[in-house]
């Protein structure tokens, strides 16, 4: 790694990395939310089954 001030390409890489990581983070949050929704849906399906069955 270069010790002294980062060279130009490292700034550019840094900027693009930030954007990329942010989008990835957002995807992770959505994935977590989807898991929660799936779990809730499964619970409700159970409840409906119990009710009808």
């Amino acid at each position: 790694m270069s010790g002294s001030p980062p060279s130009e390409w490292q700034y550019v890489a840094g900027a693009y990395t930030v954007v990329f990581v942010t989008v990835l983070l957002w995807i992770a949050i959505v994935a977590a939310k989807l898991q929660r929704l799936q779990r809730q849906l499964a619970e409700l399906v159970e409840k409906a089954r119990v009710r009808d069955g």
């Binding site: 130009e8 900027a15 930030v18 954007v19 957002w26 809730q40 409700l44 009710r51």
Partner: protein
């Protein structure tokens, strides 16, 4: 195109465009004569900023629709758009800051009108969320959020004007920000990147909306079953 196809198509488009944009930025666009390699940040920094404006504008439009129609969906759409806008706005500030550091060696510059404008807007729209958290969900909250969103979109040009005026007594304008006209190849790269980021917003927006809709349906279902 049926609603079910819309999201995958949108996602595919934005992935394609983003890939193309990245390729153009790093393999096609020439190195800028004035600003060197770090100018390439600009190819995403400005589209992200423009997309942020688009988000706030879209959010304000949906807010207006809500006030007219009282349809709760419009409130959700407005909220999601503004939420995305703040996300892109934060990215604008971060990438702009990195660009400032790469170009001029400072992490922040009050002379950069766009950065300062985004700071003001960021403060304004973060307060939007504070407002929403502070009020119980319901029509009162939706009304207030909508009015606030309208104020925000009007504030954008007013603030921009104010910031330009303020440059005269804040700081002598030292740095030359965007340089002369872009060359053809640069402009093409910029346009593709703009399309890519807008497509990304559209995709994220639809995904988030879908999530919220499912949430609402599940809640309704739970009430019906218990």
């Amino acid at each position: 195109m049926t609603p079910r196809l819309k999201l995958p198509v949108l996602a595919a488009c934005s992935t394609g465009l983003l890939g193309l944009a990245l390729a153009l930025v790093f393999f096609y666009a020439p190195t800028d004569a004035d600003q060197g390699f770090s100018q390439r940040i600009f190819y995403f920094h400005v589209p992200i900023a423009l997309t942020s404006y688009a988000c706030f504008g879209w959010g304000a439009w949906k807010a207006l629709r809500y006030l007219r129609t009282r349809d709760e969906r419009a409130d959700t759409e407005s909220y999601v758009a503004i939420h995305q806008g703040v996300m892109f706005g934060a990215l604008t500030l971060v990438t702009g800051s990195i660009w400032a550091k790469a170009s001029w060696g400072v992490w922040w510059s009050w002379s950069e009108n766009q950065l300062v404008l985004f700071l003001v807007l960021f403060l304004f729209y973060c307060a939007y969320f504070m407002l929403r958290f502070s009020v119980e969900p319901g029509s009162a909250r939706a009304n207030m959020s909508a009015v606030y969103a309208l104020f925000g979109v009007v504030l954008i040009p007013v603030s921009f004007l104010a910031i330009r005026l303020s440059q005269k007594f804040i700081h002598p304008v030292v740095f030359n920000s965007h340089g002369p006209q872009m060359a053809g190849s640069q402009f093409l790269t910029f346009c593709v990147a703009l399309a890519a980021v807008l497509a990304l917003f559209a995709t994220l927006y639809q995904v988030e909306l879908a999530g919220k809709r499912i949430d609402a349906h599940l809640r309704e279902l739970r009430e019906l079953l218990t």
